[in-house]
């Protein structure tokens, strides 16, 4: 078989792509992924709080939450996954798993529906997950000034904010690069601060 000779260094990383319904998360993932975006589903039993034994309630209602994701092989030993999150923040159970260990997140924004991402931003700030805001330009139109968007979202000046075109590979690539650079710069600042 063609497995790498030494697989002990093999590891993976992930970046979370968040945003409201229909904002273009899957399009963004697909623009850089080496595979056609896949969908995975998690089954959540609703009203499960306080019920430990599922067998006691045989016909409990279930909700399925779908996530779309793509993959980029960084090198032979390192694979980066991009996970598009379900827009609904009521599925918090899913988000915990998604953000655990993530490099950071991209909040994809449609300026016509800015409010869709308020709860997502709150969540990332609460969890101290580094994020940037990418404003998806539908039809290449930049409808608003970035500073106006920043004010409306009430995100600090440190958080990178940029335009993107989710359909465009180069554009998506720049957003991903920006996020990783931002995370690295935060680490350096922290190290300097401590030392």
């Amino acid at each position: 078989m063609n497995s790498p000779a030494d697989t002990s260094r093999v590891t993976s990383a992930k970046i979370v792509i968040a945003g409201g319904f229909g904002v273009g998360k899957t399009t963004l993932v697909g623009s850089v992924s080496e595979i056609t975006p896949l969908t995975t589903e998690a089954i959540m039993t609703s009203a499960s709080e306080g019920v430990d034994d599922n067998n006691l309630v045989p016909d409990k209602a279930t909700t399925t939450v779908a996530m779309d994701f793509g993959r980029i092989s960084i090198d032979q030993d390192l694979i980066l996954y991009l996970f598009g999150t379900p827009g609904q923040t009521r599925f918090w159970f899913m988000w915990d798993e998604l953000v655990r260990g993530a490099i950071g997140a991209i909040v994809l924004v449609d300026t016509r529906r800015l409010a869709d991402c308020f709860s997502v931003i709150d969540f990332f700030e609460h969890r101290k997950l580094p994020y940037l805001v990418a404003v998806n330009c539908f039809d290449g139109k930049q409808l608003h000034e970035l500073q106006d968007i920043r004010d409306a979202l009430q995100v600090s000046q440190d958080v990178p904010l940029m335009y993107t075109d989710a359909r465009n590979r180069e554009s998506t690539k720049q957003v991903l690069i920006k996020l990783v650079e931002y995370v690295l710069s935060m680490r350096r600042t922290r190290t300097v601060g401590v030392g």
């Binding site: 590891t11 993976s12 960084i74 390192l78 980066l80 260990g101 650079e181």
Partner: protein, 126 residues
């Protein structure tokens, strides 16, 4: 006659039937953890059931994440996690956990930084 469009899109088997009703895996596996078939798994002699063969076939060529296995098998994530954990416990699969960059999981900062730099240069090469 069954027309194509009328075929059910989902499995008729209840999702957790393949795990015999178990919903808790023997091992917590991250969404993005990479799974690889071991020599023991690839030998095919120790596989129990159709699902195990499918998983070994999926992971034989190149590394696949838990999420990819779930998606390609069209089973919920939780089901894939139970199946993969069982097979890892039996030495049929090797699971490479992700490094982890954020949160309070005590991730090693220097390892994280080195990996981030690799990710960055990989993205620039795209």
């Amino acid at each position: 006659m069954v027309l194509g469009g009328d075929e059910p899109t989902g499995s008729l088997v209840r999702p957790y039937a393949v795990t015999r009703g178990r919903t808790r895996p023997q091992l917590e596996i991250a969404l993005e953890a990479l799974v690889e078939a071991t020599a023991r798994g690839r030998s095919g002699q120790f596989l129990g059931g159709r699902e195990q063969k499918v998983i070994v076939d999926l992971c034989g060529g190149r590394l696949q994440s838990l999420a990819e296995i779930a998606a390609r098998m069209e089973v919920p994530l939780g089901v894939a996690r139970v199946l993969v954990a069982d097979m890892a416990a039996d030495g049929l699969l090797a699971v490479h956990e992700p490094t982890g960059f954020s949160g309070d999981d005590g991730a090693d900062e220097s390892v994280g930084t080195e990996l981030l730099e690799r990710v960055l240069s990989g993205l620039r090469r795209l």
